[in-house]
């Protein structure tokens, strides 16, 4: 008796729960690995899985076993030169012991246990510190949606997409083109035959030769296929990401001496979060990094996060530079513009009112959103108070004082709340 069952359609993710349990158990180690990855990665490159390695000793399941020592007598295959009574030195490997340098049974792997986190899992761990609401997490984890659009015809594809009209038109064209020469030859031969027949009879060798030639031409014509795989045309559809607008994101950060590594790390998470959000909404995003102390510079990402400067702080220098870049390169009718600013709140006293004026009059009207985080534990200083006045005036300006990564999210709350991002929301 015998049954044959096709199980292929049964679920294949039987181990998903076990995998999840595994991740949960080693949450600590995985989180560290993710944090390290976030530090090393560019903010535009956050959405990948990540290789995580965990020391083998942490994940071993211990059982009682024997160690080296005592008396072991083992049998091995493949003796070549030994005879009874031969002696030799103990191999250094320490693993299986015995045997001439054989890799023993216990010498295996003190390597780390390495495995891949999927993109979703990676983002989940990344979001863990940020205390994002679940709805937002799912929104951010969704991959870009595509919509199929017609895009002409191609010469290969699936049979369901065959475009009959185009294919037959192609076939007709090919038949005409290919039959042109044989047809001419045939006609010429036929005419010649007609002429000949007027003078000679049917058994003349010339006539017979001509008849053969005509048969050959007809044969050639008959061999032109009516339709050929070459003629087939398929409707072509391309997947167009949806929506298809573009955005530019400015990262502005104070890099004066008081911004330490920890603060920069929080700032980086802040920028990443905005980037992830924008990525859902726009097909193309450019990121501009502006760092400043008393002067502002546009830099690349590496310098942005890693170069160190000292000295005082003039925030308006950065704002002026942002404004200049927008006017030169990102006309606001073509670009959706977002600015994220991170600082520890220090500013040169008399500069703060300038900042407010710059923001309120020149910059904010051009923007979709301006998010400001002040990473500090101290008392608010004059910049904060000036910014509060701006916030009262513009709805798309948000600001927040934070001490750790978990507090970043409310800065974006309004931004995420809006379903469609398309419309401009100047006050």
């Amino acid at each position: 008796m015998f049954h044959l069952i096709d199980r292929r359609l049964n679920g294949k993710n039987k181990s998903a729960v076990n995998r999840e349990r595994f991740l949960k158990r080693f949450k600590g180690q995985i989180k560290e690995a993710v944090a390290r990855a976030v530090k090393d990665r560019s903010i535009t490159d956050i959405e990948r899985g990540e290789k995580v390695s965990i020391p083998v000793k942490d994940i071993n399941e211990p059982t009682f076993g024997h160690a080296q020592g005592g008396v072991w007598e083992r049998v091995f295959p493949g003796n070549k030169e030994y005879i009874k009574g031969d002696e030799f030195d103990r191999p250094q490997s320490g693993g299986g012991g015995g045997g001439s340098g054989g890799a023993g049974d216990g010498g295996e792997g003190q390597d780390d246990f390495v495995f891949e986190l999927t993109r979703e899992e990676f983002l989940n761990f990344f979001f863990d510190d940020l205390e994002l609401p679940n709805l937002i997490k799912t929104q951010l984890q969704q991959t870009t949606t595509f919509k199929p659009m017609r895009a002409g015809y191609t010469s290969d594809g699936t049979p369901t997409n065959i475009h009959v009209l185009r294919s037959l038109r192609g076939a007709l064209g090919r038949r005409i083109a290919l039959s042109a020469t044989p047809m001419e030859d045939l006609n010429a031969a036929q005419e010649k035959l007609d002429e000949l027949l007027e003078t000679c009879d049917e058994h003349d060798p010339q006539v017979i030769a001509l008849m053969a030639e005509i048969r050959e031409h007809k044969g050639r014509l008959a061999h032109i296929p009516w339709i050929d795989p070459f003629d087939l045309r398929y409707s072509n559809r391309v997947r167009v990401p949806n929506p298809t607008t573009q955005a530019v994101m400015f990262c502005v950060m104070d890099v004066s001496g008081s911004m330490d590594e920890m603060k920069k790390d929080i700032a980086k998470r802040f920028f990443i979060l905005l980037y992830l959000f924008l990525e859902r909404a726009y097909e193309k995003i450019e990121v501009v990094f502006v760092r400043h102390h008393t002067q502002a510079f546009e830099v690349n990402e590496d310098e942005f996060f890693h170069a160190r400067d000292t000295g005082g702080t003039v925030v308006s220098s950065a704002l002026k530079l942002v404004k200049k870049i927008i006017l030169e390169r990102y006309p606001s009718n073509d670009w959706n513009i977002y600015v994220a600013q991170a600082s520890d709140g220090d500013n040169w006293d008399s500069d703060s009112p300038t900042c407010r004026e710059l923001l309120a009059n020149d910059i904010l009207p051009l923007l979709q959103y301006y998010a400001y985080v002040e990473i500090t534990e101290g008392e608010p200083q004059n910049l904060w108070y000036e910014y509060e006045r701006v916030a009262a005036q513009y709805r798309h300006f948000t600001m927040r004082r934070i001490r750790e990564a978990g507090e970043i999210w409310p800065v974006f709350r309004d931004l995420f709340k809006k379903a469609g991002l398309g419309e401009r929301s100047a006050a």
């Binding site: 096709d6 294949k12 181990s15 009682f64 005592g70 295959p77 495995f115």
Partner: protein, 512 residues
Amino acid sequence: MTRLAHTDATAEPLSTGSEWTFELIQRYYDEIARIAADFGLDTYPNQLEIISAEQMMDAYASVGMPVMYHHWSYGKHFLATQKHYQRGAMGLAYEIVINSNPCIAYLMEENTMTMQALVIAHAAFGHNSFFKGNYLFRTWTEADAIIDYLVFAKHYIAECEARHGEDKVEELLDSCHALMNYGVDRYKRPQKLSLAQERARLVEREEYQQSQVNTLWRTIPRLMEEREQAQQTPRFPDEPQENLLYFIEKFAPLLEPWQRELVRIVRKVAQYFYPQRQTQVMNEGWATFWHYTLMNRLYDEGLLTDAAMFEFLHSHTNVVAQPGVDSPYFNGINPYALGFAMYRDIQRICTEPTEEDRQWFPQLAGTDWREALDFAMRNFKDESFIAQYLSPKLIRDFHLFSVLDDDQNARLKVSAIHDEAGYAEIRRKLAEQYNLAAREPNIQVYEVNTRTDRALTLRHYQHQRRPLANSVHEVLKHVARLWGFTVKLESVDDEGRVILTYDCKVEKRHGL
């Protein structure tokens, strides 16, 4: 290969291409079944399941069983398998076969028709008949009930997780898994499993067990005569116990009823796998012998094309390769190679015995090889199988030699090789190498201090002065977690002196 009676080389091959279809599998199965019946193979009914590579990895990760409770360690195995597979470092096994009735064998959809036929011959007839015939499997496993029992276990554990929290269940399972190899009665026949009884008795057993535990640990003052009795029986348990998990299940003072049930589940699963650990060489050798014999017969009858036969031989040769000890590929003795060679050798001794064979195996030479093989398959485990059947010819073919590694000597010594003087010794030593009792440390429950601190003392009876590995500290923590009180482990040497003590103190009472 011994050519057999009705060779009919004019028959049409069953298939020519490498693609399989359901109809073809059916036809191959029927032909293989016919030949297997000819050879007198007795099997459970077969259930062949076509699965994808991902499903194969899933099955791999949960110890090959179609149903299994959830645990992080299976997730770990899955990740490891997946990594190796995706890197291409490892092909998936062609087959997984489950000792159940009906016997379930997996066929991977990626396999060619030839490979499917090989797997059918190997798993559905080779392993299957071994499961049904070998005395260890007959004694220790319940092929009829295992799937039902695992369904019960999975549901029960899921229920416990819901009721008591995943973390608590996980901790407990971790501890039980650490002692899994010590959850088997080696000499007592286990009870039959049945899903219905299992459910019906669950409640009853929980109550009864708890009451037993309570009696043991009772602290209310006893009656005078009882007290006298108590003084007369100072030791508990009165004999050392080898089944640690059983002892914990029955006597650990602080376990809740559901925790005892979990210990029991792990114990039952361990018991189910116990015969497999003792019959690697025999089981794999048997399956390999039969796929080889059955496929050859198919070919002889003209049912396989030359191409299919070459494909089969290619993979068969890979399976039974045995690199020598000095080869970079050496990784111990290949159970497929040794087992296959031994069954083939028994066949040879029966049909074409040499003078040497008549001397060593007078009871085999010239007898019917099918009966001899059947007897060998039914009545042995690896250790006794090798002790009984390893022939001088095989020892020579494998160039076996033994090396003595005594930590009191500075150098290793070759103690026997494949020569006249060494055959018996090599055979004895190789058999000993497959003795599970010698491979794993012998650890037993020695004593429980029922009167004061309730400490549990385990004893490790040293064999050949072999010390315990460092993992002992970790494992003791697990034992202490289950026991709830201090746990000691004493290493005892050959003369019964305690030479080393480990302990894991549990200071204050705490539940799990």
